[in-house]
């Protein structure tokens, strides 16, 4: 340890090659991120310079155009990667542009586009966001802002900044870039959570909780980075992986650096699992999902989950891929805890948003089985699952925004109020039933294919007990999904039944896309799934450990 300092070779200290030469940066490969960033910055300028009355239309158009343009660029880049190659890295190896990153970025952009439609929904000048978030709830000032029709159009640039962070989070190829991406993604989300129009104190409480817990988990993540850097002498994923193969940086010739690595992996794992929302780091999820404005909840439940899993997969497959035997038991435990505890707690929930939050935690557990598998099939399964789940969950939250206690009232969260909804508004209840069946993993929905893919990968990697727990947990979750369906279709409407407001074009299209994607990915998954799974002929006799899996190194 310290007593060996005399033998520290200079190479260890200079390992992260920082030169004073100007780096070559391929801006074309960065363009999807730059487009979103540019639009966000432009959005801030609009806020500063454009009169209030014209801001909303301008901001919405800009945000939608930017996500669409970034999506097109992402697809173009996906097409430009030569066959048989994983991809490339740029900006001194800090950002990876490979199939995995591009697929997840594309997914994030599509899901963000749909979330933006929900966010933009405006009924008679009333959006889901507070008229003026700085006013005290219930004050005279607040009333005057509501009467004046004030709107927080800052929401759009904030969402774009968050999306930028998410894009970078899935592509970050060293720990420092990943940390920056984590913060760029999280800070706007903390703010957005506190902007709800109704039940504002509740929303602010959610924002503060999310912020404090998020800051706490960032600290864990950073500490983990410091320890791994101490072990490997670099924050770059490829260098970390090489260092693990070599038994640590040359500082640790006798392998004495292993504790540093293991504690580092655990702490980085805590930071990432918090973002994913796996038990025991899931406690923020129900509170934040419930308190945040529902369109923002939809954004978090879909895009943020994709981004967080993208980062988790990349870190554990590439940087820590060589020490898979060390981290597998840890993730194994977390996955089992997540699937069991969240499913059991979800059964007791009485609020639809909390229930969907716990359902999101359970799904995170299912996806973790794919991380545990640590195989190309696991990666493909997780990516498909993420895309399928994203579409379904946005649709489900879109429906939540439509069911109100009364006309012009707040959302009817209480599940008891949803009784008999299938008779009064069959189309809406039918769509929700489809989403719930997809969550439960019933065949002919995308949820079934996703679950099948990850469980199959986990089986192939020898994690059979995990799959057994997963299937049992699925059965438990199916119980409460089906209970809601029964409640909606087979019970008498409650006396104080909710009012289903007419879906505007924006919310309506979000639900329609959700229904279509849930159905299509369930019936015709092969066009997507086949592209994700590497062809078996290419890596025939590979061991089921992350090797040739689509990540660039």
């Amino acid at each position: 340890m310290i007593t060996e300092t005399s033998s520290v070779p200079a190479a260890v200290l200079s390992a992260p090659t920082i030169t004073e030469q100007a780096p070559h940066i391929d801006y074309w490969l960065l363009s999807p991120l730059l487009v979103v960033f540019g639009a966000a910055v432009l959005g801030v300028l609009f806020e500063a310079l454009v009169p209030q009355a014209r801001r909303r239309a301008l901001q919405l158009g800009l945000a939608l155009a930017a996500t669409a343009a970034a999506f097109v660029l992402t697809v173009l880049q996906g097409g430009s990667i030569p066959a048989g190659e994983a991809g490339t890295t740029l900006a001194l190896g800090s950002v990876a542009v490979d199939r995995v990153a591009l697929f997840l970025q594309g997914t994030i952009l599509v899901l963000a586009f749909i979330s933006l439609l929900l966010i933009a929904e405006n009924r008679r000048g009333e959006s889901a966001f507070a008229a003026q978030a700085a006013t005290v709830p219930g004050s005279e000032e607040e009333r005057s802002h509501i009467l004046a029709g004030s709107q927080h159009t800052e929401v759009y640039p904030l969402v774009l900044f968050a999306v930028l962070g998410m894009q970078l989070f899935t592509a970050a190829n060293d720990f420092l870039t990943m940390f920056i991406a984590l913060e760029v993604m999280s800070l706007p989300l903390y703010l957005l959570c506190g902007l709800a129009r109704r039940r504002r104190l509740f929303s602010q409480e959610a924002a503060v909780k999310y912020f404090l817990l998020g800051a706490f988990s960032s600290a864990f993540f950073l500490f983990g980075i410091a320890l791994v850097y101490g072990y490997a002498g670099s924050v770059n994923f490829a260098r970390v992986s090489e260092a693990i193969d070599a038994g640590g940086a040359s500082l640790f010739e006798d392998g004495s650096g292993e504790p540093l690595l293991l504690i580092g992996i655990a702490l980085i794992g805590v930071g990432l699992l918090f973002k994913v929302g796996a038990v025991p780091f899931h406690n923020w999820k129900p509170d934040v999902y419930q308190g945040a404005p529902t369109p923002i909840t939809a954004l978090m439940a879909s895009c943020t989950l994709v981004a967080a899993f993208g980062a988790l997969l990349r870190v554990f497959y590439t940087a820590f891929g060589a020490s898979v035997d060390q981290w597998r038991p840890m993730l194994w435990t977390v996955a089992i805890l997540t699937m069991v505890l969240a499913a059991v707690v979800a059964v007791t929930q009485r609020d639809i948003k909390r229930l969907l939050a716990y359902s999101s935690v359970v799904h995170a557990g299912f996806m973790l089985t794919a991380v545990v598998a640590a195989s190309p099939e696991g990666l493909a399964g997780a990516m498909f699952y993420l895309a399928a789940y994203g579409f379904t969950t946005i649709g489900a939250f879109a429906i939540v925004t439509l069911v109100r206690t009364h006309e012009n009232g707040p959302e009817a969260g209480e599940l008891a109020q949803w009784a008999g909804l299938g008779r009064t508004s069959p189309l809406l209840a039918g769509s929700l039933a489809l989403f719930l069946l997809a969550f439960a993993g019933i065949p002919l929905t995308s949820g079934f294919i996703g679950k099948f893919a990850v469980f199959e990968a986990a089986m192939a990697a020898g994690a059979t007990p995990l799959v057994v727990v997963g299937v049992l947990s699925s059965a438990v979750t199916a119980f409460f999904y089906v209970r809601i369906i029964v409640l909606m279709f087979f019970s008498e409407p409650a006396e104080t039944g909710p009012t289903v407001i007419r879906a505007g074009g924006l919310t309506g299209s979000a639900i329609a896309v959700g229904v279509a994607a849930t159905f299509l990915l369930g019936v015709f998954p092969s066009p997507v799934l086949d592209n994700l799974v590497p062809q078996p002929s290419e890596e025939a006799a590979e061991p089921a450990v992350a090797t040739a899996d689509g990540f660039t190194r």
Partner: protein, 119 residues
């Protein structure tokens, strides 16, 4: 263990310094209180008694603090660039100008939205 001995000794000295100076101060120091001395050691607004309505701090302080952070971040990145200005060349210059433009957009936003008006 001997590795940690200096750390522990330093910690002990630090704790002893706090305890000794506070005890000596409370015994030997003269106590002549006046209004200013009895106030909490704070700058800005009076922390006590809490104003009516839950004691909200006026938002102006936060705006000023955020403005400070904008320039603080700026200087953090400007300093290393200034040190290696010549080696970084044109690339560094362009990157820095772009960075400054982005920083000043945050500043422009605060200015246009009235964040700089104190009253």
């Amino acid at each position: 263990m001997e590795l940690y001995a200096p750390v522990l000794v330093l910690g002990a000295i630090g704790a002893a310094f706090v305890v000794v100076s506070m005890v000596v101060g409370s015994i030997a120091g003269p106590k002549r209180y006046n209004r200013a001395k009895l106030q909490a050691y704070e700058c800005g607004i009076e922390p006590t008694p809490q104003p009516a309505g839950g004691g909200r701090f006026t938002i102006k302080y936060y705006l000023t603090a955020m403005l400070f952070i904008v320039f603080d971040i700026e200087i953090i990145f400007l300093y290393p660039w200034a040190v290696h200005f010549d080696e970084l060349g044109l690339f560094g210059l362009i990157a820095m100008v772009l960075f400054l433009v982005n920083v000043s957009i945050a500043y422009a936003y605060e200015w246009r939205r009235g964040g700089l008006e104190w009253e």
